[in-house]
Every structure is written in C-alpha cells, then in structure tokens.
Symmetry: C2
Subunit: 338 residues, 2 copies
C-alpha cells in the first residue's frame, strides 16, 4: 500500500499506534497531550510547555509566483502561532527550517525573512534558530513553542479538542470564509477593489487569535481548536475527540461584507462552512463562559451552534428551517490531495 492511499490521518494514526504499542517513552507521565492533539503538552513544575509544528511545501501549500515570499514568511509563522492560540497558550519560541533550492535568489530569501520578522513581532514570538538544507523543492517548516499556566490542581489551563460537553454552545472568533474567498480572488474570481484587497489579506496574512485564546482560558472555557481545514471539518475533530455530535445554524455564521458582496449569500455560506485557513478560533463552553470570554476578547465572538449527545460523532449544518444542508468537499487531505 502507498501512503497516498492511507491518507494524512492514517499515516499519523499509524505512528501513534506504534508508539503506544512499542515505545516506552510515550508513556512518560509528563506528556499531557501528544500525537493527535493540536500540539504537544509537556508538564513542568510551574507550567506546561506547548509545542507544535507545521510545514508549507511549494506546489502543495502554495504556488510559487502566486504567493509573495514575504507573505509566505508571515504565513509560515502564523499557522504555527495559531496552534498555540488554539490551546490558549502564550507563544514563546519559533525554530524555522528552510529547504532551499540552489537557484533561490538571495533577494527572495531576504523578503521571506522580512515576512517572518514582521510576523514574529506582530505575534510576539521569538525566532530563536532553525536549520537550512538544500532540496529540489522549496519548503518552510516551523516549530513553535508556548506556555500555559497550571490550575490549583497542577493541571494545565488549556483548550483541548476533547473537552466539549453535551449542551455546550459553539462559538467562533471573527468572521469565516474570508481566506478561501481570498484564494478564489487570487485564482481569478472577480471582485471590487476594496473587497478583493480585504479577502486577499485574509488569505495571505492570517492573524492568529492568541488574545482570544487567553480570554477563553481565563473564562474557564476548556475546549477549542483553530480553523485551518474549514469549520465543519475542524468541528468534526472536536466531535470525534469529545464523543459528541454538533449542530451549526447556517444563519448564525459570521460572514463579512466583502465575502457576501463578492460571492453572494449561498456561496458565501459554503465558503464560511467549509473554506480552510481562516485561523479563527472555535471554542465550546457554557453560555455563561462564552459571554465572559466575549467580554474580554479583542475580536467579536459569535455563537453558531451547540454540542449534542449523539451516536454519530459528526457536525451538521442546519438551514433557517432546521433542515440539514448539503455541502461540497469535506476538507483537504494533504496526502490524498483531495
């Protein structure tokens, strides 16, 4: 069998199983969360170390010439900081590995570095090292570390995928679908200048919701994920991890004006429900917890649905009359390419 048949999640699951079966180190008590979570959580004396890594590969995650080197530098940092935000942590260090083609222009490299530096400053993370290797295709791999505090029982104060409860409301930060809309604009979709600019910005310059993650943790919210694969797919991860179902009300989805103006209501809803790379946070908690979080957050928080007890651990999108909506493509698997 080839890995393209197994798919990304299958490849990860296989390692997790092997480690559980054969690896003694995987049973270290200090490992609070490992493979399958947004990031690793490692218990220390007065806090928890968070660590996560994400890689962008030319031709898979971006197309040379369509993405500027500077935006690429920004995005490589942002997607990792977003994973720290998704855990409610404080970003600390970034290590950056570049796989460089021999014929890369040093001027392009400088632009890449500039985008990384801008992102690090904006997101309050320190670029502390990395590795440079030669390769046939360009890729940038970033590992980010962060920190979470401990509660009185010495448990880390974190957002996790597995912590949803039946009856929790589901809330998201900001607006949805903008990054996917921006990608469509880059690929040729017509839009007026202002909308095009706003949507491109969402696609090329994601802003991880670190402060909202802190606000969530401070409000005793304990379940969260960042929206990288698309709302319904990422909510599906929460459903499976928490052993619950979820319903989302289509008419509650926060959709910004640029998206609606460019794509119309129906397509905007689809982009909001399934479009990837918004890097907003999705959290679940009691209505009271979410209200407290919203009061402390620097971005709008919108309640879009609720977690429900269900045999089927999936998320369903309901239209205004309560009927399930059909959605295209259920997200993106990097290894399968679909």
């Amino acid at each position: 069998m080839k890995v393209s048949e197994l798919g990304e999640f299958g490849v990860i699951e296989r390692l997790a199983q092997l480690l559980a079966a054969e690896g003694s180190a995987a049973r270290d008590d200090r490992l609070y969360a490992g493979i399958g979570d947004d990031g690793a959580v490692w218990l220390q004396k007065d806090g928890a170390l968070l660590a996560t890594t994400d890689t962008l590969v030319e031709g898979v995650h971006f197309v040379a010439g369509k993405t500027s080197w500077r935006d690429l530098g920004w995005k490589a940092l942002a997607v990792n900081v977003s994973d720290i935000a998704a855990m409610g942590g404080e970003p600390e260090l970034a290590l950056v590995t570049l796989l460089l083609r021999d014929n890369t222009d040093v001027e392009d490299l400088d632009e890449l570095y500039r985008g990384m530096t801008e992102a690090a400053d904006a997101m309050d993370i320190v670029i502390a090292g990395g590795d440079i290797v030669r390769a046939q295709e360009f890729a940038i791999s970033v590992t980010a570390t962060g920190r979470a505090g401990l509660d009185h029982a010495k448990q880390p104060k974190l957002l996790r995928r597995s912590a949803a409860q039946a009856g929790d409301v589901i809330a998201v930060t900001g607006t949805l679908g903008g990054a996917a809309g921006g990608l469509a604009v880059v690929q040729g979709k017509q839009a007026d200048d202002r909308a095009a600019q706003a949507l491109r910005e969402r696609h090329f310059r994601p802003r991880p919701r670190v402060d909202a993650g802190h606000a969530a943790v401070a409000a005793h919210v304990r379940c969260g994920i960042d929206l990288s694969d698309g709302l319904m797919q990422d909510l599906g991860h929460i459903c499976r991890s928490s052993g619950l179902g979820a319903i989302v009300w289509q008419d509650k989805l926060p959709i910004d004006d640029a998206l609606r103006a460019t794509f119309g209501e129906m397509e905007a809803v689809q982009l909001a429900a399934t479009g990837g790379e918004d890097y907003e946070l999705l959290v679940t908690g009691t209505r009271e917890q979410i209200d407290v979080m919203a009061g402390q957050s620097n971005v709008p928080i919108t309640v879009i649905g609720e977690m429900v007890a269900s045999e089927r651990h999936t998320a369903r999108l309901l239209d205004g009359s309560g009927k399930p909506m059909e959605l295209p493509a259920a997200g993106w698997d990097h290894l399968r390419g679909s």
Copy 2:
C-alpha cells in the same frame, strides 16, 4: 545572487542580521542563546528550555536504497538529541515532520517509525507530535527540546561554543572517524566482516553522548560542541565563537581498531580529523575539570589538544614532531555542496 553562492552559514548569518536590525522580539531578555548556537536557550523560572532542529533530505543527507528506513528513523532522532547533548541538557520532546512522496510504501514508513521509536526509547526522548506533508522528495525534520538547570546566579548550566578559555585542554568522547569510515565501507571500501560491521554501525546508528554532556556540566565544564561536520571544522566553530586558536595533537586522536585496520594509520588519522557525523562530544576546560568529567562519564574521554591565545581563530593539527599537517576538504557545506 543565488543561495548556492552564499552558502549555508551565509544564509543563516543573513537572517541573524535582519533579526538583530529589525526584529524587536529578538531582543527578548529570556532568549539566552539563539541563531548561531547549537540550539536555542530560553530562560524560564526554574530552568532553561533548549530547542534545536535538524533535517535530513533524500539525495542530500542520505541516498535512498543505501540507508534503510529503520536506520534513517534512528538517525533523524539521534542528530537532534546530539545537539541537546552538546549543550549538556536533558532531552525531553521530539516533534517529527515527514515530507512524504505519494508513492512511499506504507511498509517503509512502518520501518521508519520503528527506527524512530527505537531511538526515542534508547535516548529517553518522547515523540510528542509532528506534521505530515506531501512532497516530491522525501525529508524528515525533527525538532527536539530539552532542559538545563540553573546555577545559584540563575544562569543556565550549559555547554556553549563561546565559553573556551586560553589554556583549556580539549577533550573528546569515544573514538573519531568511525562514521566516515562506515560511509566509505557502504560506498564499497573493502573491510573484514567484523570491522565493516563496527564501522557501518557508527555510520548508521550514532549514539548521542547525553550522559557525557551531563558529566561535563556537573564537572563545571562550560564549553562544548557535538562533532557533526568533522573534528577540525567543529573545533573551528569553537575557535571563532571563543576568539581563540586551537592545536590538536595528531598522535592523541582516539581511533578505534576497526578504522585503523581498514584504512591504515595515515588515512585513519585523516578520517578522525575531518570525517563527519561521529556525534561524539568535544569539550574544553581545565585539566582538573576534564579529569572530574572523565571520572563520571560512561564513555572514554581523551585529551587531544589545547586552546591557545591567537590572532587566527582556527584549529591546527600537529604531527608527532609538532609540524602542522595538511588536511583535505575542510568539511561540508550543505548549500554549496562541497
């Protein structure tokens, strides 16, 4: 200008300069060591977080078919743990990123995982997560974190490249040149069975010197590096970082019998002086400190030279009569390919 002209160290230096000039985050007080060191050192309340990353690329760092998947998994972990050992730290977490070709066999992937698991168990590090992405060529990138203690002045107890003093003796763990000898054997060099086996093992299964690093730190040794590029080149890093020269006595180099038997005295010395990937530790300290370290170490420690005040911050190899020896190739630059 192309990055192949700038070279690996030039590419790294350029980022370090940009961060120093433009990046406010690079000036965070908690960053004790960053770009240009063996790894990052980040001060926390009751210790220091160490972080390092290293990537192996198909066709650059290994040749498909010449290295087994299992050995590759081992080596990817080992080279990173060695960087933690080089700082005198205790390994904690490993994050593993795989760039996989679509047509990779799942059975090969299992072997890779098995090698990683064996290494993690042997080296007492926990594989805690990672990322899987599709690519045209296979690569494995590992980030390792570790921990160092603080002294009474709240400074981390570490080995660093920049801490050598004039008059320090230079010592190495284990034996040198075996990994390069093993590579030659893999490439067709004749050797008797037992020697071939021993040398291959050195090449494919490096054993990071974590315990020796601890012994060094406990003995108040503060300068060290792991031997990845080759003795004379890595000692050159210490010379430049510490602003000193170094002399190494050829007749003191620890060379194991398999290497000498296979290559003869002269070539064995050259391999020991310049061959890469031994992943032994090199430390400098007072004779007394090195003696204390040797008494606590689980591997032999050999004094091979001394650090000297010098205008030229380079390392020289002297033969039995005190004459400088000529050496071939001054190490490997991954971007230049020479």
